[in-house]
Symmetry: C2
Subunit: 431 residues, 2 copies
């Protein structure tokens, strides 16, 4: 029995725990297999290269510098982030082309402007004339009176809603004339604003079952963006010929990135990729049950797992209790197909060593694992005190539960990946 102290993994203990055995760590904690992150990132990077598309890595899943460097093959590259805390963290870490990727609001402008002074490109996302007005007003305040040279110019992406209906302006119907083109015109005519590109996130691709359905959504997304880009080009030519070039058309989501790779041969001939200049997926370095399921990928592609310990065993209901609850796994769920073909409509995670065992319910700090056989009930790997690794339903939210990640490498013959901590990654948590 392991009676040695279990070490709490926090930002302040992070450095001292490099070299520790995984079994010495206090559970739950998030373990990242760096080798697998590298493989996952190489696939997407090579896909982008093959298609001649710039990768703007979304960093919201991991929120940490080492993982973003791996996304770009070892050096900083263009990124998109989801919080001010991320933007500040990555700017400080040497990333110089940053898009703050949620619709900008007035309260964030002072920080974003400050940040723009220290990087090459700090761009914002807008989806209304309101936003353009705040940006101009802020820039006018910075400008003050006197100097003729413009002191503050906001680089603006227009957020386009191609069907997810979360944020953005529809590129079709009445929205195009009533909202999108007036915004474009404002961005083109204001001395304080600069049109940077069109940005879509087909988030509805996340819940599409299988590569064929994802490919369909991805193609519709690209077609809509392609048509919109042609309209925009035409308008710019009318309004301001000097602005016709030098802006981007970006699409994203991990399913679309994976789908592009899976279908490379076909897609190369697919005209719908023409004119798309940037791809901004985010979940792919870690992956998770949702992504593996929707993209029909094997479980070993998951690179971030929650390390937990078995607390108790309940033979009468064939369940075990583990010390990772909804504050470690999140309360997001995914559909999952057990190895025997049984469909679980909503599970919160799967034991990587026993893929027929899944998290059926999460309380705050503990979860119940269901599906044990007679054999499992006597398996020492599932005895109270034993370590297990859980592939979470949604790695963005599971990673969000932890301020630091324990990093391991592949290790031959180990179900637990590497058994010692080779690095600790500290992330930009909070806001």
């Amino acid at each position: 029995m392991p009676f040695t102290p279990s070490l709490p993994l926090t930002p302040s203990t992070a450095h001292s725990l490099i070299g520790s055995a995984l079994s010495a760590l206090r559970t739950p904690c998030l373990v990242v297999n760096r080798s697998q992150v590298e493989r996952n990132c190489t696939i997407v990077r090579e896909t982008c290269a093959a298609k001649g598309i710039r990768l703007r890595a979304h960093v919201k899943t991991h929120k940490c510098l080492p993982a973003a460097l791996i996304q770009h093959g070892g050096k900083p590259g263009p990124i998109v982030c989801s919080t001010l805390a991320e933007a500040e963290h990555f700017a400080e870490g040497g990333f110089t082309d940053i898009l703050y990727g949620v619709p900008v609001s007035p309260d964030k402008l002072a920080q974003l402007h400050a940040l723009s002074q220290s990087v090459e490109v700090l761009a914002v996302l807008v989806d209304s004339l309101d936003a353009a007005a705040w940006l101009e007003e802020f820039a006018r305040d910075v400008q003050g009176s006197g100097s003729a040279e413009i002191a503050c110019t906001w680089k603006c992406w227009i957020k386009v809603d191609t069907g997810y209906h979360r944020a953005g302006i529809s590129p079709a119907g009445s929205d195009l004339e009533a909202r999108l083109l007036p915004l474009l015109q404002r961005l083109t005519s204001s001395p304080y604003l600069q049109f940077q590109g069109l940005y879509s996130h087909a988030g509805h691709s996340y819940t599409s079952l299988g590569p064929v359905a994802v490919a369909q959504i991805a193609r519709e997304d690209r077609t809509a963006m392609h048509e919109l880009a042609a309209t925009v080009r035409k308008k710019l030519l009318e309004w301001k010929a000097s602005a016709v070039d030098g802006w981007d058309v970006a699409v994203g989501s991990t399913p679309i990135a994976l789908n592009a790779q899976q279908g490379t041969t076909d897609q190369e001939k697919d005209d719908s990729w023409r004119g798309i200049t940037e791809l901004h997926p985010g979940n792919y370095p870690f992956l998770d049950l949702q992504q593996l399921r929707y993209n029909q990928l094997p479980l070993d592609r998951s690179a971030a797992r929650v390390l937990a310990r078995v607390l108790a065993r309940y033979p009468e209901r064939r369940e075990i209790l583990i010390d990772a609850g909804s504050l470690a796994l999140s309360k997001d769920s995914a559909p999952y197909t057990l190895p025997d073909g049984t469909e679980i409509s909503a599970c919160y995670g799967v034991l990587s060593s026993h893929p027929h065992l899944y998290v059926r319910s999460c309380s705050q700090e503990v979860s119940v694992i269901r599906g044990l056989s007679e054999e499992d009930l006597s398996d020492s790997k599932l005895a109270p005190g034993a370590l297990v690794t859980i592939i979470p339903a949604h790695s963005c939210l599971a990673a969000g539960c932890f301020p630091v990640y324990a990093v391991v490498e592949d290790e031959k013959g180990s179900e637990m990946w590497g058994s010692s901590v080779v690095d600790v990654w500290v992330k930009a948590g909070g806001w």
Copy 2:
């Protein structure tokens, strides 16, 4: 437009932000109304006093010292916690009677033993002979050879499962003879173990609709515990008469605590409370949509809300976007009844200033609010940049998203509670 910098609320900036306007804080953040926490806690404390039952405050919802002190009326008292990090935090903060309230596992024993040296009572929860064996083995290791006096004694509560089926041993059927009584015998006979009491958590009371259903579950829970206590007393008399007294019978959950208060007159005559010595509810200082709905309480009983800003407005779908996503609200949902009687089966939060507006979906860092009327669409309190407070579906998980809370007091005529930060509470996050 507020172009002043928004200040990130973190443990290191916490102290300096006392006195700041709420509107200066970077969103999202968690705002706690201390006046409402005090009112919520007074009700439960008075209920316990009226019934002559000790309150063992569960601290897992807020995980911070100031809130636990309010639970006990201003001074430390008995608590139950859900992580080692909490146990250590509260021991250091002057709490001297601590129950580590999840089934204990071998990896946690060294820390728990260390902790037991610095407090009066550090008790553990067990639900198997396995656990008793580890505790004994650990104590024997501490004992070493030589001294006759026992160096390490573990105070053990037996976790009883009265119907929630998460952890614990059933007090009826074959489990009683096969598992519960053998464990009791072991606790009674070992020099290293001490039987401290019987502990149930009727978690199935959380999803019971209304006080009548909760009362039914609560009564069944007490009846089962009452019968079990009688059996235990009889067995102890047989085995070790000196152990017949001095142990507790504890039941819990916030619905049960609120129900006990709501039904005080009837319950006072209710024999099922006889023999129950401790109550250990946890959610009641903050409350949330789940608890308000299940216990039919008004929204203003909620004392912890997520402060967010409106990012964008989408008139065509009558929705707005806010900057609090699932990393601020969690992905837990609650049923909710709109003021017009419409039932929403799963919502993630409700706008406290506009109770007909609810969070229909959460992405990682943003959420979509649904239900705007024509009037709402032109309401300046819902314009982009405006601050809103969200009553979360589940406050334990929403609070879990934040390392610190901004504390306010009641303020007359303000929908936003107090408009300035009177205190900042730093919590024991992590594990």
